[in-house]
Symmetry: D3
């Protein structure tokens, strides 16, 4: 989802999945290979560009997405990002990519991407994916309001409910606490 | 923040505050007064427009922002929205407004606006406002990645920490539980 | 109205009103606190940003909208602006705000906002507001032409006519001259 | 100027000039040939499209820009527009064109294009062209405020002044009145 | 590359590669699940949306990217597309995906994506990828001109030259003809 | 066409034609007169701007479009460009212009504009113009996929076929070779 609803995903026995995200640039030239901010403390909205005559093939290439990463951590997942930090040529092009390794029952915890749409491609295993929309009062009538997602209600008050095992792990809460939260009524800021 | 970081706000003794939000339309005519989706189950990306020759002054006016709303609810706040549902002429113009009434220590719980920037204007009282940025690894180097906000870490692991009283109320948790959560280490999906 | 029709507003006994405007940025990071153009005579399309690690709460705050301004001037109004010059953190976020104080019968003279939509919130008193659309031949059929507003016709030839007292004050003309202008036929550049 | 400053143009002995304007669409397909709003009183933000399989060469062609138009009218000019009304295939493409015939000393009166940039190409004769920027307090520091153009000040208080003969014709005022207006001090809504 | 340079890719022994593309939507709601154009011959710029209350999980899911496709065709490649036609929920989100199977020495012939950036992820094998920029006179100085790619010069006159075997297959020409073309001087329309 | 289909144009006896193109800027101020990239090897996405107080009339003017250019070259055409390189004030405004002189039967070879729409105005003579859409499988159903134009199929496999004389000149091929190519079946990357 673009600019967006948090995506609640958990996975059973997924070893690797890659996804790509798209933000929204307005490139004014063919490419603008990013260079380090050339003066300490001075930034523009985006990145400075290399002289296009000095662009090389390496500016558009990244190797290593084939390498599994260690998932023995509390979340049971590990993200390998490929964005402008890894491929300088991605600057202004509005696309990036990541590989996520999951341990069995590992998870990518509830999150939002403030400037991106996301598409997931499951390489191996089964990935359980969901997302929670904006507060329904805002969403049921598709109109030009800003949208609002009340975090607590979206996480613990979504209908149907998010798997409590998943939430317990994501929020480091006892499963009982999660279930009691899910049984409560949640107000939102509509 | 546009399409972005959730805004953690609480307020002491604020009776009324209004804020305006801006989404991102591309109006192709002077105005496009919204009309009801004219066929059940059929929507466009936005709203159908009224014939501009039939637009009236009422399409651009809303009265009632002066009326305080009851704040005797668990959150201690109440939002009066003024968007395209209240002012049909706002369609495609990318601006909306809301009044929020707060009881003493009332709160507008942690939330995100997926398609909007927000500016707050405090009419009366004192409002305590904060926001949590994208995961710092993403933010410290301002670049063209999609940004990611890991909900649990942003809420319970932000540095400096969010006021535990505020979080206890927002998440309907005991204050002790909140404090123990704030003492934990939070992984994110960078 | 976005990038658009001039807004003809006059006011009877309005003491204070605030409005917010939205331009159209494409933020590529959470925020980009504006800094002074760091080399005399060198500007970018927008503003340079502060290192996000050095952003402070003050970059997002402005105090003083509660202070009435003197309206004893020919227009009988006074604007307190709150944009990126006052709140550096507004840079790239596309929202700004202003307070306008009006003396009785004071006015905000006919104007256009080339890069903004506008929403007005009347705090106290009664504000008489109107706007003139693009030349009707352009507007009656909502299509993808650039729109055109012929200033003289919009001001003196609008139908229904703008209050001649208001125009006399705005254009420093005798009311009789205004009325004779309003009685003429106005050609436009359609 | 896009979304913009009014353009004050007058011309000495120009017989024909064409200009092209660009608005800001987001085409999602190769083309979207406009069709008439297919239900009375129902409009979308733009135009409905013809089935692309039924597009013909005529949807992308207009003949007649070679024909001079009569300029014996008070303004001494005549505009031949070529936009989506004349070339249905221009829909969503963001470009339109017009031919303007001027009589000697004819004028295209002060106007703004709320959704377009403009470039002029003088075919024959000499065209005197100028534009007035946003209120200087807004413009001298290029920042993200909405911009404001106070009509009366821009027209009669611009520095350097607009040719009073030109303004007298555009506003149907006696040249003396124009000159007295140009001698006054003009407040604006900064 | 967004809206842009054709991408010359060929592959040695690549069995499967997936890539994702990003176009540039402006979603005004959380999602807008596409429905069939509900009246023959009537289209909007994009797609009509399903009532969001009727959206289902299937609107956001596609299965089958694991299935290799037959590559015994003249190009030695086969594309499995996953866009709004396969996943209705992708409508307005600006991301799509495709799997390409290549036979050894198969190729995805020179092409452009008029409305997209592209990122490639090689799953298995080695893929030889290149792209040709806009005419250098346009590109060496990154500015706001429209860019131009002269097809014949880009294909046969690029420096360094594209592999003649690849071009011979793509253009169904004898390799000798390709080499003689590559030896010629190519004018462009700068 | 914006960011899009190559335009196949040839001309019989056209002496002069001008066209204008529109890219997609987001100007944040009235204008941003371009200045030379002020540090070798450092570029932004676009151009640095002159201090607006130092802008002059010359920044917005170009003379010389009346001068025919020599067309005695293999293509029989010559382009006079007017973009930000010639008129610094065009920076961020999204419009540029060009004059093309054609010798009899001269041609502007097949090309694409990756960041622009184009409108042509024929000044003198007759210009034969055509364009080839995205692969029909993509285009017949107007949807949110990225679009794809397979160069070889678009050039030699378009239906109806492009004039073989035109293609022979553009690709420096014998007319017989062109006709044999046009008789082949062309696969694309749908």
């Amino acid at each position: 989802m673009k600019g967006v609803q948090f995506l609640v995903a958990f996975v059973v026995l997924a070893l690797a999945s890659s996804f790509a995200s798209a933000s929204d640039p307005s490139p004014l030239q063919d490419f603008c290979v990013a260079i380090d901010d050339y003066k300490s403390g001075v930034f523009v909205n985006g990145k400075f560009c290399k002289d296009p005559k000095h662009a090389t093939a390496d500016d558009f290439f990244f190797s290593g997405l084939n390498i599994p990463k260690d998932t023995s951590n509390p979340l049971g997942s590990n993200v390998t990002q490929v964005n402008v930090a890894q491929i300088a040529g991605l600057n202004t092009l509005g696309v990036s990519l990541a590989r996520i390794d999951y341990a069995p029952y590992g998870q990518n915890p509830p999150h939002t991407h403030p400037r991106a749409s996301e598409i997931l491609f499951v390489q191996e295993g089964t990935l359980y994916v969901g997302f929670v929309t904006s507060n329904p009062e805002n969403n049921s009538s598709p109109n030009q309001n800003p949208g609002v997602i009340t975090i607590a209600k979206a996480v613990f008050g979504s209908d149907p409910p998010i798997n409590p095992d998943f939430l317990a792990r994501a929020f480091q809460l006892d499963q009982k606490v999660v279930k009691s939260l899910q049984a409560k009524f949640w107000w939102d800021n509509n």
